[in-house]
């Protein structure tokens, strides 16, 4: 009986929700193009970076670890558009491959963190009581320690590496943003349909997944997009200090790092271009995130 009812519900629900979300998505894109020129520019930068990261092997003129001792500290030329570094490696190629590391870490950490933040936030709001109190005090304690100190401490204990950096950034991002998601989920919980679903005998899991989650989805998307730009910066800061993804993998932060400072006096382009790439990426993600926030949830405007 129940399964038949579910099947009917599913059949009825699927086409309508399908078309609704599709047209909503389309509408957001149309409004992005019409109303948000900066957001569009951001989206363009983000897409370009994604393309560069995916096709790095095809685009980069040289390998990222291809050294040449005869070509050290060359200024920009036809062979090396952005010049070369202390080992004669092509700076442009390293920046192109650096896109890959930056995006892998920030997208991966955002995905992981959003999942974790949603899990903490929604359950915390749904169950309330002692569980919520305990979780919130833990979040308080976590937030009391400046993020960079905490991340550096954990990574120095775990050891640097792509996976560790990604996991630790994701963990921290999730814990920090769980509060925003919890706030949104709390207000959703007050709605009569949640009570109705409970009265109907819906299991906790079902209520959280099919009634609460879709209603906080907009905020989760906003948190994730705005977090992306920030995570690129944090990853770069960690690499800058030598606690990010270790060499030979090129990272934007690592190229600017303190260890390379003495070379920059000889070759100022080493100090300039990785920073330009970094700023452009953060700018792109910020503008795209801001525009998406305005379009999806205007109430959040002015938060940052």
């Amino acid at each position: 009986m129940i399964s038949r009812a579910k099947a009917v519900e599913g059949r009825l629900a699927r086409p309508t929700t399908g078309t609704r979300t599709r047209s909503q998505l389309l509408e957001i894109w149309v409004r992005l193009i019409r109303e948000k020129p900066l957001g569009l520019l951001g989206a363009f930068i983000v897409l370009t970076l994604l393309g560069v990261a995916i096709f790095a092997d095809a685009i980069a003129p040289y390998g990222y670890a291809q050294t040449s001792l005869t070509q050290r500290f060359r200024a920009s030329s036809a062979e090396h558009w952005l010049g070369t570094d202390q080992l004669g490696r092509d700076l442009l190629s390293r920046i192109i491959y650096g896109t890959r590391v930056s995006l892998t870490v920030s997208l991966g950490a955002t995905a992981l963190g959003t999942l974790l933040g949603t899990l903490i936030g929604v359950t915390s709001a749904f169950f309330g009581g002692r569980y919520d109190l305990g979780v919130q005090r833990f979040v308080d304690a976590w937030e009391a320690i400046p993020n960079l100190l905490l991340l550096l401490t954990i990574i120095s204990l775990l050891g640097p590496g792509l996976f560790n950096v990604l996991a630790v950034l994701g963990l921290s991002f999730g814990i920090q943003n769980s509060r925003i998601i919890r706030g949104a989920a709390l207000s959703v919980k007050e709605n009569a349909y949640i009570e109705a679903a409970q009265a109907f005998g819906g299991s906790n899991l079902r209520i959280m997944l099919s009634h609460m989650l879709p209603n906080v989805a907009a905020i989760i998307i906003v948190v994730a997009t705005i977090g992306l730009g920030n995570l690129i910066l944090v990853e770069a800061a960690l690499s800058f200090l030598g606690f990010g993804v270790p060499p030979p993998h090129p990272t934007w932060g690592g190229m600017l790092s303190l260890q390379g400072l003495s070379y920059m006096y000889q070759a100022p382009w080493l100090a300039i271009w990785p920073g330009v790439a970094l700023s452009a990426a953060v700018f792109g993600f910020n503008m795209f995130g801001d525009a998406l926030r305005d379009l999806l949830d205007p109430r959040l405007r002015g938060g940052q």
Binding site: R137, N147, L150, T153, I154, L157, Q304
Partner: protein, 314 residues
Amino acid sequence: MREYLLKRVLLIVPTLCLVTLLVFLLMHMRSGDVVIQMLEGYAYADTVEALRRELGLDKPLHEQYLAWMSGVLQGDLGRSLWTKEPILVEFARRFPVTLELTLLTIIISVAFGVGVGVLSAVRQETWIDYLGRVVAILALAMPYFWLAILVVVLPAIYWRWTPLWTYVPLSTDAMENLKIMIFPAVVFGASRAGPIMRITRSAMLEVQRQDYIRTAWAKGLSERNVILRHAIKNALIPVVSIIGLQIHFYLGGTVIIESIFRLPGMGSFFFEALIRRDFPVVQSVNLIVATFTLLLNLMVDFSYAYLDPRIRYR
């Protein structure tokens, strides 16, 4: 008012207890492997057992925690493995540097952010506004450590100018000290001014549309009076809250800024200890900085109450 403040102060106690637990557990997450690494890299003791004994790792976990906490409460943070000096002594030497840097940075970012933000809102949709907004967006996107590197490297190449590298304490020579501190503070402050500017602008725009501002204009007050005496105070409330949210950025950033500008503060203390795997120091700095963050946040809450009487009397 008193009740509100008291409640805020009391709330810090459980958070601080949890912070100590969190820091402690983090440091003991992989203590086994870390001890071996410390021994291999820096030979802090003759054998693994000796180092474990020195760090107190041979005792059960809860005893270690209680021993550490009773030390902390008596003002004994242990000794640095590297310098063998009590951590508290080094801390007392370095803390004023970080305090000065942080306060200067906050002052500069607020002065710059609020100034440009107000100007941008008052002259909405003019070139001043557009310029201000572009600067804010750029400040948000440019990482402060990149800005710092540029300030250190480029003038040295093109003008043969470098920031002063030898630190002079504030108590020795205030002018010399300020000459050193001003560059890191301006670089770091400028990068943090972006969000403050944006929030000031939007808050000012909102306040300007309110009735009491129209009344102030109708009374024939000068623009200077309307903006400075009536509008700004209300627009500052969200600004204060954004400063509160940013305090951990200000303090976390000292790790990078102090390392680039070679300032002997808490941030570089932490970073040097991290590189030397001097974990007693890392643990203590985490705790101290967390306490400091909580206290600064408390100050932000107090200034809220000062700025907004509605909070005071609730």
